[in-house]
């Protein structure tokens, strides 16, 4: 996985939902430059949106503006997206469980189910008071 880091790009955005368009543009630019297949792009766009919405919804309890760093990395087989924020400790993998028994599917767990289903690895770490959530997806050109 070390070679992933050789090809990384970073964007820093605020914790407002309207910022998700910046993530989409950032991702589109990256996948075009690195010739990542369309299907992988589409699925990663959904994963990025769901992760971002979860962070915005749950990581910050105040109304202040906070920043979230997003790093895209890839090699010829995998692409990863890492989200880092200085919010309260929040592990989307365990703190946001899917409740699909609920008839109306209105609980926030749909997002994490989509994230888990559309990526091959998910890793959460709390590093120096920051949440670092990294998602990796295999692809073939």
């Amino acid at each position: 996985m070390n070679d992933l880091l050789l090809n990384s790009k970073t964007i820093c955005i605020n914790n407002g939902l309207s910022e998700s368009e910046k993530i989409s543009s950032f991702l589109a630019e990256y996948v075009t430059a690195n010739k990542i297949p369309d299907e992988t792009h589409n699925e990663l766009r959904l994963v990025a949106e769901e992760t971002f919405v979860n962070i915005v919804s749950y990581a910050f309890s105040d109304t202040e503006t906070h920043t979230i760093d997003i790093v895209l990395s890839s090699n010829s087989r995998e692409i990863s997206i890492a989200f880092t924020d200085a919010g309260t400790a929040f592990n989307p993998l365990t703190d946001c469980s899917a409740d699909l028994d609920n008839d109306d599917h209105c609980d926030g767990g749909m997002g994490i189910l989509l994230i888990k289903s559309l990526t091959d690895y998910q890793e959460y770490n709390r590093i120096e008071q920051r949440n670092v959530f990294t998602l990796t997806k295999h692809y073939t050109k």
Binding site: E50, H105, L113, L118
Partner: protein
């Protein structure tokens, strides 16, 4: 990424909601507002047409489930048509297609609606 919404009247007191573009956390509130204004328990059939929809996230799914609930509670029909493969996959991941009336295209849905109407006539 924007969302285009067109709500039109259909035969037999139905409404068709055609959505194009991206149904995500930014555009879902706009769709919800449109649905709140047009869909209520006096509508007999609500059709969501996904033909031009490229992207769907969980925020959009919540609006769709909420609309289905209105129709379920009033005894109306709730139909989904023209789901593109990437959209269908999202529904499949969250196991939401069971219990939904989903049609691959307009012809398949017309066939269903005609059969339903014939059934009603036969019962009269």
């Amino acid at each position: 990424m924007s969302l285009e919404i067109a709500i039109t009247s259909e035969a037999n007191n139905g409404k068709r909601i055609s959505i194009a573009g991206s149904l995500d956390s930014n555009t879902a509130p706009e769709l919800q507002q449109n649905i709140d204004a047009e869909i209520n328990d006096s509508v007999d059939t609500t059709i969501i047409d996904f033909k031009e929809l490229d992207f769907l996230s969980s925020a959009g799914l919540r609006v769709i489930f909420k609309t289905k609930k209105i129709m379920d509670n009033s005894g109306g029909k709730f139909l989904l048509v023209n789901l593109q493969p990437q959209i269908k996959k999202v529904f499949e991941i969250i196991k939401a297609l069971d219990g939904m009336s989903v049609f691959k295209d307009q012809d398949e849905m017309d066939e269903y609606l005609t059969a339903m109407q014939d059934k009603v006539k036969d019962g009269e």
